[in-house]
Structures are given as C-alpha cells and as structure tokens.
C-alpha cells in the first residue's frame, strides 16, 4: 500500500519536505489525520528497530488512547513513568486516561506527579492558584461594588529557594552526587510566619532582589559552604521579616568556626522544618504538609505513597479545625540525617491527643524532609 502522506495532509507537497520528515513526524501526522491504524503500524515498525525509544513508546500510548484502547494506553504510559519518572507528559496523559475511566483519585495523583516532575511548576501552579483566588476576591468586590471594603487576608505564596539541579551551572550539576529530586522550597514570606530568634546562627542570607548583582551569594562564601553546591546560585530566602533585606554580607568567619556554626544552623533549620510541618498540618495546607515528606519517605504499614497521601488528605481535609503543637523538641543531627523527637499535642474537632513522635529526617538540597514518622 502506498501512503501519500503529504497529499493526505494537504501539505504543499514538496518531495524534499517529505524526505525531511522523521518517522516520528510521520506518526504524528498520521495521528492528526485520524489514520490511527496507519499510525500504529508505523509505531510498531519503528519500535522493532529501537524498542527502547521513549518517544516511540510515548507515541504508541497516544495512538492507543486515540483508538479508544484506554487500558492499553494506561499500561503504556505507566511503564513509561516507571522507566522515566521525569516524564511529566506521560503523567499528564495517565491523568487524562484515568479520568476518562472515572478514576478521579488516580487521575488526580498522576496529574500531581506531572507537576512534581518539575517542582518549580508545582510551586508556580500553587502560586497561580493562590493568585487566582486572590484575584477572584478582588473581582467579587468589583462585581458587588464594594471595592476597597474587602478585608485582606492574603494567601501565603511560595518563593522558590533553589533551582532544579539541571538548571544550575554544569560543574555544580556534576558535583551533585545523587540524582536529587528537587523539592520545592516552601519559604513562607507572609508576615505571620513565626520568626525564629536565632538570627545570628543562620547562614548568611542573600535575597537576590535586595542585593546588588555584584554581591550575590556566590560572591559571599556562605557558612553553609561544606559542599560545592552551596556556592551555587541556589539562594536561601529570608524566611522572616526580622531578617530584613540582608545588607552586604558580613566578613565571614574562618573555616574552623564554620563547622560548629553549621551544626547550629542545621539544628535551627530542622527545628523550623518540624514547626513548618506542624503548621501546615494545622492549617490543612496539604501541599506544604505533603511537601514536608521526602520522596524516600516510608509510609507506615507498607502502604504505597499514593495510598498514604490520599489517606492523609482525606483525614486532614475532612476536619473542620486541626491544631498541632510541638513540645520539648529534641534534635540529633549527624551529617545530612537527623532525628527529631517531641511531644505532639494534637487537637481536632473530634479528637484530642498527646503522643511522643519521632521524625527521621534527611537534608535534601537546602531542606530537611521527613523520611519516617513514628509514634512511641
């Protein structure tokens, strides 16, 4: 059978154009033209030559989806995400396909994963969402002609404190030993963020907007300089208003001082991380709450991460009010691992409880994340 693709597609049919088309282009065009059987044939043909090719596997999924073979397509995309967990497009398509089968929870989880492949997208998505509700509020005020009379309780936005590893300078990317899944940094910038007192113990904070270009973090050797990565443009963010746009970095103490300071700084960071986790839980802020857990977090009872997340979500969202207080916090930190033990005072609309909790934590990038949560 002779396929005259350019004609069928109404292309200004130059032979050269046809010659320039890659097999993938041909498959795409066949899909767009609705010639799905032909597209599938092409995919299978090409896959014989290169069975591992990600794009071809992806296109196969697309063809299956368009053919209405939803289960097959789900299988294809699922396998793709297993071998290529960074493929946000595959997660997206999984989400769409699950939704078409009415599996909305699975769909939601997949779409969320699509965003998490690019933590900055997830943060941007969350910020966009917050801005949209804020804009909605203003627009309601305009609609009801009560401009200027609306009380302001602004949402807390997320300012990213670091960039994804692959966007950093190549040298540093190499220096990063582990393939870190970058985690969005939830840096509270709203004034109500608790201001930890230990200002002096903090690493020199550079706020990019407040510091002249010449005096960025890179110019000031930060005390956190135990790893080469710390000298990267990864900037920490002033978490409190009490650290006003930090002026020119102070002359740095010698390297010897840096070590104990680092430990103290870590301890403060861990403390803040625990408090932020408790606060997110109290505020039912699921994004920040779940963001406090590392990708390597082990859910209890051999539960899958997805199942655990959805369980937590259901439990937390269903409460009218939650209050989580942390008492007698004790922190032990060695290297990039830490254990936080404390008394957890939990109170919700239907339950009040007091327990001893242990959080095992790991430092990923600039952030301390929970890897295990136990009650003793």
């Amino acid at each position: 059978m002779i396929l005259v693709l350019p004609v069928a597609l109404g292309l200004a049919g130059a032979m050269t154009a046809q010659a320039a088309l890659t097999p993938q282009d041909n498959i795409k065009q066949a899909i767009q033209a609705g010639q799905l059987d032909q597209a599938l044939k092409l995919v299978q043909q090409e896959r014989q030559a290169s069975p591992k090719d990600v794009q071809l596997r992806f296109l196969e999924g697309v063809v299956q989806a368009q053919q209405g073979q939803t289960d097959k397509a789900i299988e294809t995309f699922k396998k793709l995400t297993e071998s290529n967990p960074e493929l946000s497009e595959a997660y997206n398509n999984l989400g769409v396909l699950y939704a078409s089968k009415g599996k909305l929870e699975e769909s939601r989880a997949s779409l969320e994963k699509a965003l998490l492949t690019h933590p900055s997208y997830a943060a941007a998505h969350r910020n966009l969402s917050d801005i949209q509700s804020q804009l909605a509020k203003q627009t309601y005020a305009k609609a009801l002609q009560v401009d200027g009379k609306v009380k302001n309780n602004t949402p807390q936005l997320t300012l990213l404190g670091s960039m994804a590893p692959h966007k950093r300078a190549p040298a540093q990317a190499l220096a990063q030993a582990a393939p870190v899944t970058a985690v969005p940094v939830a840096a509270p910038i709203a004034p109500q963020a608790p201001a930890p007192a230990a200002d002096t113990a903090k690493p020199a904070i550079a706020v990019p907007v407040a510091v002249p270009p010449g005096a960025t973090a890179a110019a000031a050797p930060a005390p956190a300089a135990t790893k080469p990565a710390a000298a990267a443009p990864a900037v920490a963010v002033a978490p409190t208003p009490s650290a006003p746009s930090v002026s020119a970095p102070k002359p740095e103490p010698k390297k010897e001082d840096a070590q104990p300071k680092q430990a103290k700084a870590d301890s403060t960071d861990i403390r803040n991380a625990v408090l932020a986790w408790a606060k997110a839980w109290s505020q039912k802020d699921m994004n920040r709450y779940l963001g406090a857990y590392a990708s390597s977090f082990t859910p209890p009872d051999k539960m899958s991460r997805t199942k655990w997340e959805s369980d937590r979500r259901t439990r937390i969202i269903s409460k009218k009010t939650i209050s989580v207080d942390v008492n007698n916090l004790k922190i032990e930190a060695t290297g990039n691992k830490a254990t936080a033990r404390f008394q957890q005072i939990y109170e919700s609309d239907n339950f009040k409880g007091n327990s001893h909790k242990t959080l095992e934590m790991v430092k990923q990038g600039e952030h301390w994340l929970i890897t295990r949560e136990t009650v003793n």
């Binding site: 697309v62 989806a65 078409s100 089968k101 309601y140 609609a143 009801l144």
Partner: protein, 426 residues
C-alpha cells in the same frame, strides 16, 4: 457570607441544562448522570487569546456559558478576562469572571470578608446581579420573535418609522422599524432588543415617588442630551408622555418618566432599580439617539408583553375600526350633532370636562369643508381592566407650521360602545 461560588455557579449549571424554569433545587442539576470525561489531543501547547468582537457584553456572557457547556473552562476564563478588560463596569461580567477564577483555583474562596455595614449592600448587589443574569440569559432569542409583533399595535402608518415595547418581566426593550407597506398590513422588523432596568418597585405607577414604572402606551417627546444632565442619566434621555390622558383621568401623578442611559460607574443597572424610568446601557441609548425620526415613537410598556403573529389583526381592533371610520367620516362631514354621541360624559382634558370642551370641539369640525380627511398615523390599545384605544392622526390640510399637525384621541368602551374620553393636539 454564603458561598458566592455556589450561588452563581448554580445559575451556570441551570443555564447549561437548557431548562425553561429554575429547578426547585439547584442541587438537582448536580445529580445528572456522570458523563465519561473527554479529551482533545494537543501536540504543541497552544496559547489562544480570547478574541472579543462582540460589541455588547451580554453576547460575551452567552459565549462564556457556551464555552462552559462545551467543557472549555480555560476558554471561558479567557473570554471572561477579556470581557472585564473591555467592560470593566459591567458588574455581572466581573461576577462571572470572579466565579470562573474561583473555580479554577485549588483553594476557592468562600465569599469575600466584609464589614457588617458593607455586607447588606453587597448581598443585595449579589441578588441583583443574579437576577440580571437570569433575565439576560433567559430572554427569548430574537429569532424566536420573528414574525411576531406586540399585540398592543393595531395599526402603524408607514410614516411612523418606529415602535418600541418594554417587557418588564423580562427586563427587555424591543425597538422595531416599521415596514408596513401601502396595503396597511402591519409589518415590523426588530432592530434592537436590549436589557433594560425599570422601577425599583416594579411597574404600575400611581403616584409621584412610588418608584414604579407606568404601564400603558406612551410616546417619545424630546431628547435631552447627556451633556446637559447629571451623570445618572448617562449618554442622554428620551422623554415619555407620562401621564397620558387616561392616567390624568385616573388622577395618576408623577413626571419625568424617561428612557435614559446609565451612570459612569455601571454598565447596566439592576433589573429593578430606577425611580420609574426605563434605563439601558449608554451604548444602546446612543444607538437610539442616532436613529433619525425617533420623535413620537410609541412606547408600549407592559408587565408582560403579549405577542401576536404579524399580519393578524387584533380582534379588538376589528371591533373598534368601524366606530373609528364612522367618526372620521362624520367629522369630515362637519355634522356636530352626529358627532356628539361619540363623546363620553367622562371626557376630560386639562382637568376640564365635556361641557367646557364640546363647544370648541364642535366649532373645530364645522365651517368650510376641509379638502382632505384626517389620516390615521397609529392605533394602539391596551387593557388594564379598562380597554383603551389610542389613535393618533395627522391633519393633511394644515400647512401652517405653527399649528398642531397631529391630533390624538383616547377611546374607551362604555356599555359596549367605544367613546371618546380625550381629544387633543399633540
């Protein structure tokens, strides 16, 4: 404050469900059988900016609902954004945009936080906007009105270029061009149909300050340019002939019932918001003011307009026409004694009765025979318990521009007979 989202989104759901009436509970519309979710294939991310080519925001609101009905939420949001940019004082558009923003957010807000003293006015405004949305979205499509005319019009001579009608229950003004041919068969073309606001207390004006819009047949008198009026009147006003002869007989009071524009802060006002005037968007008002020959346009104002098929003569007119024709003939013959029985004992003009007016009326028809009979310009009628006919005529014999060319008569039925209750120049 209750959830705005639910309040207004409720309308959305209802509008999309193609129902004629609001469901008993909006909840019902959520119980529809779940449909499998569809998808569209996209190879390259497409950023489509909404194209705004409608000149009135109501069309845009309709487009937005259409997008929503097709599951194109992003497009609906884009259109709403563009609409609010183009028509920032169209509060209904802002409400829709706010709702769409809110449903697009992961954490929708549950209404805005307001001071206790602002809350009542905001809640009232919300109710008004919801009502405006309902009125605008449930108005009959212009196509559905094709071939129909307001039943109040019995005859319209081709020299009378327009006819206007207001349906208060639908918050709608209809502006027709008269396409009646030489055969005299009524033919109207709908030039414009637009949202209007009426009196804050509805219709049926009785006395000055009652906040109601009068019901009946009125005529446009003159134009007051917007520049000469306070901001409240927007781009200008056309004054109406309230109170008319029958209103005066019934001792109705009030004045200054106009058709006018909107203040600068509001593209449109609530369905029931005025002191009795009929108010439309400035752009619509300007369109009317630009029309040549709007003077003397009859304006029928009804709580609910009755429509009849174009070309069908209302029965009431068939019954009335012989009386009118005979009166015109007797008048032409100048026989005062024959004319006398046409005049009701209730006749009233400028608060004076028939005993005052009859000598003058009789004198007017006697004397040298006139070359041409009066020409009927329009016949309109309405029934508010009493059946009334309004006949406007022109006198082709008058050449002197200083003299009144038009004569208007009001007729009512008395013991099965049509009688003149008013006759006077206009």
């Amino acid at each position: 404050m209750p959830t705005l989202l639910v309040t207004t989104f409720g309308i959305t759901v209802w509008l999309l469900s193609d129902r004629d009436h609001l469901p008993a509970s909006v909840q019902d519309s959520f119980k529809a059988a779940p449909e499998p979710m569809r998808w569209k294939l996209e190879f390259e991310p497409s950023a489509t900016a909404a194209v705004i080519n409608a000149k009135d925001p109501e069309t845009l609101v309709r487009q937005i609902y259409q997008h929503l009905g097709e599951g194109e939420r992003a497009q609906a949001l884009d259109t709403a954004r563009a609409m609010t940019t183009r028509f920032p004082t169209f509060q209904l558009g802002q409400l829709l945009y706010a709702d769409l923003l809110n449903i697009s957010s992961l954490q929708p807000i549950e209404g805005v936080d307001l001071d206790a003293d602002t809350k009542p006015s905001a809640m009232r405004r919300l109710e008004e906007l919801v009502m405006e949305a309902k009125r605008r979205m449930t108005r009959p499509a212009p196509q559905a009105l094709e071939g129909q005319v307001p039943a109040a019009v019995a005859y319209l001579a081709s020299q009378q270029p327009y006819l206007a009608a207001v349906d208060a229950s639908r918050s709608r003004l209809y502006w027709f061009a008269n396409r009646t041919g030489p055969d005299g068969r009524l033919k109207l073309e709908l030039l414009k149909e637009t949202y209007v606001s009426i009196g804050i207390n509805g219709v049926g004006k009785v006395k000055e300050g009652d906040g109601k819009t009068p019901i009946g047949v009125y005529f446009i008198q003159k134009n007051l340019p917007g520049a000469t009026l306070p901001d409240l009147f927007g781009s200008g006003a056309l004054t109406l002939s309230f109170p008319n002869a029958v209103d005066a007989m019934r001792n109705k009071t009030g004045s200054g019932i106009w058709l006018h524009g909107t203040p600068s802060a509001q593209y449109s006002r609530a369905p029931e918001a005025t002191d009795g005037c009929v108010v439309q968007a400035n752009a619509e008002m300007e369109d009317l003011l630009r029309l040549p020959g709007w003077r003397m346009t009859p304006v029928v104002i009804a709580e609910k307009l009755d429509w009849i098929a174009s070309g069908q003569v209302p029965t009431v007119y068939t019954q009335f026409q012989p009386t009118l024709d005979q009166w015109l003939a007797d008048r032409q013959n100048g026989d005062a004694e024959k004319l006398k029985p046409y005049y009701s004992q209730r006749f009233e003009r400028d608060a004076l009765d028939l005993s005052h007016w009859w000598p003058k009326l009789a004198q007017g028809v006697q004397g040298p025979r006139k070359a041409k009979p009066l020409e009927v310009v329009s016949v309109l009628h309405w029934n508010d318990g009493e059946e009334t006919m309004v006949v406007t005529m022109s006198d082709p014999n008058i050449r002197d521009k200083r003299q009144a060319v038009y004569l208007r008569t009001y007729w009512q039925k008395e013991a099965g007979q049509w009688k003149l209750v008013f006759e006077g120049p206009t």
